[in-house]
């Protein structure tokens, strides 16, 4: 098989040019996507390593594995690396970069060189973050709350702030590229109502990139300037309001949660129709709910601040607005479920991830209602309940979506199939490990265990042991795909152009695609998810 592959290998974006320069100076969106894939995977394992140390420390109530200072740095850097250097770029910068031009039927993104610049900005920010970690780390928590970050922490706050500042520009430019590409580069016939839902959610994500990221950039810049010059904008001893920082921070950082989850929703909206062989149920509702999430996401930020000392009336306003953003999320879950009705469902690896996504996201979303609810939030705020909730969204949601998408488009990206049995196994391991890790934390939180605690009262130990055990399983679940996906690069069987019998322009080209994606600009005459007219490949039919 493998030898035959070498001889018949067609020209594609991977073998079009060779040499390190052809990669580092490429403007091909697909190559840039791979550059991102490698770099975010690196940061994922850096952040994951910190997570593992955190869980090990929490195995026992006493602070016995690492020092308190070290522990504080661990959870800070875990948060900063995972949020800013893995989750936010994860799907948009890898799958988005690879797929957006192909899905609209274009040769490349609107601004290929700016796309490369984005990656270099990401790397510059990433290197600064690494430098910050290696020279002692930072201990403010990923939230940088003032006045601790401005006046009290004597760790590398400035470096971390600047790293995230630079990385922010990478996000902004990526988002800008996507919006412009979707507006301007669509192939003839690719109307808005024919766009795959992945494009809709990427578009919504990009809106948040464009309008939210600048605010955190300036906020972190003010923190850095306050440290450097003693400005006093957030300093209570000078009359500044530390709560103002929280307003500005969450104005971006709450929508940032939707930056992480929306693309995963897009991935799931591709996978479920494909493995149900059906047009997605309620296409318009799913598409519009993405936009609604992006817009409503900007209205709810102060639900992170119900006990921070904001006014009673502001709390009421933000609480009621918070429920608005739950609606489009619920609509999506219902539509995905309905899509499976009378379908022809197969349990391929991507589908397992997508099903896992729905399950975990549902739990994450429902517990979000608890946090939007004023009466409950006062008790569970800043406890492990919050930790569990956002890990259900960001790891159970975003990461499951990312892995599902990676498996789904792996044949397109590399031209090879991964071993299906291993794929399903690791999907199961991730699902089980995840629940074991984070479900006990809901109970821990309601019992009152505060977050960011290096040591804790002994009565919380049992649940923490469950959690740490789950984390070990989860680690295996993440390492496995790393191994077999790499293995498949060499030994995987050749995928063919459309192994799943999927809809979408990206499946009409060869795998891996050529440098310009399409030999001729395609003309779209069919609706999205037109599964009635797409034959299922023979091997897929027989395999099940």
């Amino acid at each position: 098989m493998a030898t035959a592959a070498v001889t018949t290998e067609r020209e594609n974006y991977l073998n079009a040019e060779y040499g390190i320069k052809s990669w580092l100076l490429t403007t091909d969106h697909k190559r840039i996507a791979l550059l991102y894939l490698i770099s975010i995977t690196f940061f994922f394992f850096v952040g994951g390593f910190f997570a593992l140390l955190i869980r090990l420390e929490l195995l026992t109530p006493a602070g016995d594995l690492v020092l308190a200072d070290t522990y504080n740095k661990l959870f800070t850097m875990h948060g900063q690396v995972m949020v800013f250097f893995f989750l936010i770029p994860s799907i948009p910068a890898t799958l988005g970069n690879f797929l957006v031009p192909m899905m609209v039927g274009a040769k490349d993104l609107a601004f290929p060189r700016i796309n490369l610049l984005s990656w270099y900005l990401y790397i510059a920010g990433g290197l600064l973050m690494l430098l910050c970690i290696l020279t002692g780390g930072v201990d403010t928590g990923w939230t940088f709350y003032t006045p601790f970050s401005t006046g009290f922490s004597n760790t590398n706050v400035t470096e971390a702030g600047l790293a995230i500042f630079i990385n922010g520009f990478s996000s902004i430019l990526t988002g800008l590229n996507f919006v412009v590409t979707i507006h301007r580069m669509r192939a003839p016939g690719m109307t808005w109502s024919r766009m795959p839902l992945f494009l809709w959610s990427t578009y919504a994500t990009s809106i948040i990139f464009l309008l939210g990221t600048p605010v955190i950039a300036i906020t972190l810049l003010l923190v850095v300037m306050e440290r450097a010059f003693g400005l006093g904008i957030f300093d209570p001893t000078r009359g500044g309001d530390p709560v103002l920082f929280q307003h500005l921070f969450w104005f971006y950082s709450h929508p940032a949660v939707y930056i992480m989850i929306l693309p995963a929703m897009g991935v799931v909206s591709e996978i479920i129709p494909c493995f149900s062989r059906k047009r997605v149920f309620g296409y318009k509702a799913v598409a519009m709910s993405s936009i609604a999430i992006a817009v409503f996401g900007f209205l709810v930020w102060a639900h992170h601040m119900f006990v921070a000392g904001i006014s009673l009336y502001a709390a009421l306003v933000f609480s009621i607005l918070s429920y608005l953003v739950a609606l489009p999320s619920a609509v999506k879950v219902f539509n995905w479920t309905a899509t499976m009705y009378k379908g022809s469902i197969s349990f391929s690896t991507p589908m397992l991830y997508a099903l896992g996504f729905i399950g975990l996201f549902t739990i994450g979303g429902l517990t979000g209602l608890f946090l939007a609810c004023l009466g409950i939030d006062v008790h569970v705020h800043d406890t492990y309940f919050v930790i569990a909730h956002f890990h259900y969204i960001m790891v159970g949601g975003a990461l499951m979506g990312y892995l599902g998408g990676l498996h789904f488009w792996w044949p397109k990206i590399t031209g090879r199939m991964y071993p299906e049995a291993w794929g399903r196994l690791s999907a199961m391991i991730v699902f089980i490990g995840f629940n074991l890790t984070f479900f006990p934390q809901f109970i821990l939180g309601y019992l009152g265990m505060p977050r960011r605690y290096w040591q804790y009262p002994p009565e919380f130990q049992v649940l923490n042991v469950f959690s740490t055990a789950g984390a070990s399983i989860l680690a295996v679940g993440y390492l496995l795909p790393m191994v077999y996906l790499l293995w498949s690069l060499r030994y995987g069987k050749l995928a063919g152009d459309n192994p799943w019998g999927a809809s979408g322009l990206e499946w009409t080209t060869q795998s891996p695609p050529t440098t310009f994606n399409f030999d001729e600009t395609p003309e779209v005459t069919w609706e999205a998810y037109d599964y009635e007219h797409i034959p299922l490949p023979m091997e897929v039919t027989l395999e099940r």
Binding site: H183, L211, L299, S311, Y313, A314
Partner: protein
Amino acid sequence: MSAHVISTKLYVTIWIALMCLTVITAGVAFIDLGPFNTIVALSIATFKAVLVVLIFMHVKYTSERLTKTVVISAIFFLFLLLGLSMADYTTRLLG
């Protein structure tokens, strides 16, 4: 969109208007109008900004709705940030 060429005369007229408005806004500041000082100053600034956006930046002459949409959404989200933050600060006294 960009094929539209605007006459030099219009540009100069707008420029003169902007200059006059600058002088007016600086002059009015010296007259005690109570709280209206701020309102007048910001109204003039907004009027100037609108002139620049519509004429100098050609938004009036573009056939594309998209440009206008982008401008309006940027302003809208800016007001979300300012408005919802102030919703906290203006009501803290009340509770």
